[in-house]
């Protein structure tokens, strides 16, 4: 097996991986950096983010407001010191992106424009029309080409982590084109491998979002934290799940039921705001968990529109007018026309909630380092404690930058400390990985990975969807255990070494099953309702700070259910309070202001 030596190995070429690579290259120009990705970096799922990236910008905004929006948006399950660092660094990162060439949308005078987003008190979402993720990813990718010390290993699939004395020492990867395994040794490893939305059947995610890094870290003993919190985005296209950006509502779009009624006013987000005058934290500018939950209630009440691809609500942006739609939401129009044969200039867009984002992930400290020294995690695969029980839209693109930069810098520092490795021990680990891979490649059996994937996706939707119950979650937990057995009997048909996606699909689904189990077990153990985790069981419909103002930690248990533990939440400035939006939220804000002034 070929061995390559680097100072840092970054796994994943999306926004956080690229930002980490650039930060490492800039702060420590002498280091050799591997950027390893199972796809070309510009194929990474960051590319599909649409609406924008948050950073305090306007005079009427403040770091305190971004902080409190994020912490209350996360239903107080956020690490407050982490959020504080985050809001302090967002603006610098957005400006840095500007200086690297990101085509941010502008005001007529050439200054940066910002837009409204759900759960944000003041417009603070920087955007590049409705292709923000695309422009950010390409800007980062292209900027990374400046640094000769960043060596890309494109289309290399990660099979395992190399460790020496509880210290990360590299990874084993498969070169997908050559079909050969590679030992990549490094003094620090950064996982920037993205989320796991594909464990759900119906989701907004790219097919590559399969939880690879989460699963590898988990199997190596690192906790997956807060995995029960999975975000349903309120507006996906029926059938495909393709994302229709929250910016549609930020710009003034309306959510309607089949009677043309703006139903969000009945779910704690009212009173109704006038058409064309979106008001922060009211109605359509509520946070994603609340808006998706409102859909569920309306759907149960039979007030949604039936279509061949399931029941939908209607997202109406017609009143914005052709000019604004073409300027601010051109991609949304293109997607609606291509995939739904609907022109939103003339007709409302049919939408429904769809699995979108994993708030939880690989547990890290505030320097992005995991419990394995030298192993860092950043971006959607990680849980640094940013998002709590519900992420606000436009906070994740900002997270990629702020913590991508931090992870790159800290990883560089850790790498420079050096790692004492015994080459023979690492060779032995790599050989072991190779023999396990070869065993999978020759696996025989009657099962098909497609069946496992579909049953997992359906079961996650049923048990760990917008609303959850003991019984439904129990079914999912049982189903996942069954699938863990059955996945060992999947027959691999393809024996080729070049671009063998038959075997890689199987491995991705195995990774996904681990992540799904962590989600389902964390969910069933959380006997309360908070943020994106809402229970129908009578005793658990309320938030229970006494027992559950805690992060869950899921630990891998070979051939058994994960072990679920808890740890406290770091609260510094903002004590837990009732989480309210609309008129009730405004009145709470006023009371707080009076108290503050008094």
């Amino acid at each position: 097996m070929q061995t390559l030596n680097f100072d840092i190995a970054i796994i994943g070429g999306g926004g956080s991986g690229l930002r980490a690579a650039i930060a490492a290259a800039e702060t420590s120009p002498g280091l050799n950096i591997a950027l390893v990705s199972k796809v070309y970096p510009m194929r990474s799922h960051t590319v599909a983010a649409e609406g924008g990236s948050a950073a305090v910008w306007q005079d009427n905004d403040s770091l305190e407001l971004h902080f409190s929006d994020t912490v209350s948006g996360g239903d107080w399950l956020c690490e407050q010191d982490v959020v504080e660092y985050f809001v302090q660094n967002c603006t610098r990162e957005m400006i840095q992106m500007e200086q690297w060439g990101c085509p941010w949308s502008r005001n007529p005078d050439g200054s940066i424009a910002v837009r409204n987003f759900g759960g944000m008190k003041v417009p603070r979402t920087w955007f590049a029309a409705d292709k923000t993720g695309f422009h950010m990813l390409h800007t980062l990718f292209q900027t990374s080409l400046k640094y000769p010390q960043i060596r890309r290993l494109d289309e290399h699939f990660i099979l395992d982590l190399l460790e020496e004395d509880g210290r990360a020492a590299g990874v084993v990867a498969l070169n997908m084109i050559e079909g050969e395994l590679l030992q990549i040794r490094a003094g620090a490893v950064v996982f920037a491998t993205g989320g796991a939305g594909r464990v759900y059947r119906y989701n907004t995610n790219a097919s590559i979002v399969t939880g690879d890094g989460m699963s590898i870290a988990y199997r190596r003993g690192v906790a997956l934290r807060d995995m029960e919190f999975v975000q349903y985005h309120p507006t996906g296209l029926p059938g495909s799940g393709i994302l229709i950006t929250e910016a549609s509502r930020g710009e003034g779009g309306l959510m309607l039921n089949k009677n043309g009624y703006r139903y969000l006013q009945d779910y704690g987000l009212g009173p109704e705001t006038p058409m064309g005058q979106p008001k922060p934290k009211f109605m359509e500018l509520g946070p994603r968990d609340k808006v998706s939950q409102a859909f569920w209630h309306e759907w149960r009440a039979g007030r949604m529109v039936s279509t061949p691809h399931g029941d939908v609500s209607l997202l109406d942006i017609r009143h914005l007018g052709k000019e604004k739609i073409l300027e601010r939401l051109p991609f949304i129009r293109e997607l609606s026309m291509q995939y739904m044969s609907i022109d939103p200039i003339n007709d409302p867009i049919p939408v429904r909630p769809t699995a979108h984002y994993t708030m939880g992930g690989i547990a890290t400290d505030k320097n992005c380092e995991t419990s394995i020294k030298g192993l860092f995690a950043v971006g959607e695969c990680s849980s640094i404690g940013m998002h709590g029980a519900n992420r606000l839209g436009s906070n994740s693109l900002a997270e990629l930058l702020v913590f991508g930069e931090a992870a790159g810098r800290w990883a560089a520092q850790r790498s420079k400390e050096g790692v004492k490795v015994s080459p023979t021990a690492l060779d032995a680990q790599a050989d072991d990985t190779e023999s396990r891979f070869k065993t999978i490649l020759q696996q025989k059996g009657k099962e098909k990975w497609v069946t496992i994937r579909n049953e997992m996706g359906l079961s996650m939707e049923e048990g760990c969807g917008i609303y959850r119950s003991e019984e439904l979650m129990r079914n999912t937990v049982d189903k996942l255990a069954e699938l863990q057995d059955r996945v060992r009997n999947v027959g691999v048909v393809d024996s080729a070494s070049v671009f063998n996606t038959d075997v890689l699909n199987l491995i991705e689904i195995s990774y996904g099953l681990n992540v799904a189990e962590a989600m389902a077990h964390s969910a069933i153990e959380r006997r309360e309702s908070r943020g994106a985790h809402q229970r129908l069981d009578e005793d658990y419909q309320q938030r229970d700070d006494e027992n559950f103002l805690k992060h869950s930690l899921a630990y891998y248990n070979k051939d058994a259910a994960p072990r679920i533990e808890y740890e406290s939440v770091k609260i510094t400035k903002l004590q837990p309070a009732k989480r309210v939006y609309g008129a009730e939220g405004a009145s709470q804000d006023n009371k707080n202001k009076e108290k503050g002034n008094g």
């Binding site: 690297w100 997607l335 080729a496 070049v498 996606t501």
Partner: protein, 255 residues
Amino acid sequence: MADAKKLLLKVQRYNPEKDNAPYLVPYEIPWDDQTSLLDGLQYLKDCVCPDLSFRSSCRMAICGSCGVMVNCVPKLACKTFLRNYSDGAIVEPLANFPVERDLVVDLTHFLEYIEALKPYVIGNARKPAEGPNTQTPTELARYHKFSMCINCGLCYAACPQFGLNPAFLGPAAITIGHRYNLDSRDHGRDERVQTMNTKTGVWSCTFVGYCSEVCPKHADPAAALQQCKVESALSFVTSILNCKKNKEASHGNKA
């Protein structure tokens, strides 16, 4: 799906470890009005031939992974709908690239060409603490269209010149370089044109314009190339004039 409409896709298969040459295999695909070609290929992978290899990721025409030839026209599979091919279609890997396997091609050169044109801001020392550059919507509009390239490679598959001469930097790479040349924040034009205004750069292009026709994001590479040629010609003329002037000047000095 039993009573679903079906059509015939002939898909090129090739496993370099087994096959001497690529060959077409017909497959029956169920479809409805929403089924994309990518859905069709995924159906094959899931239900018929798990050993079929193709690239895909976002399935919403923004990541650029799934370019293939459909009836000899370069297309993104996810943005191509089977409703438009009810009589069937032939699906092959992107033309003008070496085939690795089935529908997967080797993009190495393409990536190298993008890199060769230094697609990043050059010569702007502004730091984040100094705040963002000012850029008016008019200045943004000068390059905006050219920043839409998703690196899918369809324009290379469409380009007859790239087909004849793989050393040609090609439409997308030049478009991306040109995008930075037009950006009011950038001062790297002089560095880039050394690579751009060469025989393997803009002067390889014979302005067939097919690249813009197949571009799924309307990034209009043909327009970028034409603008580059005009600039290149102008700078050539200017350099001759300058050279003449310099010669006259030095002549004058001697005299």
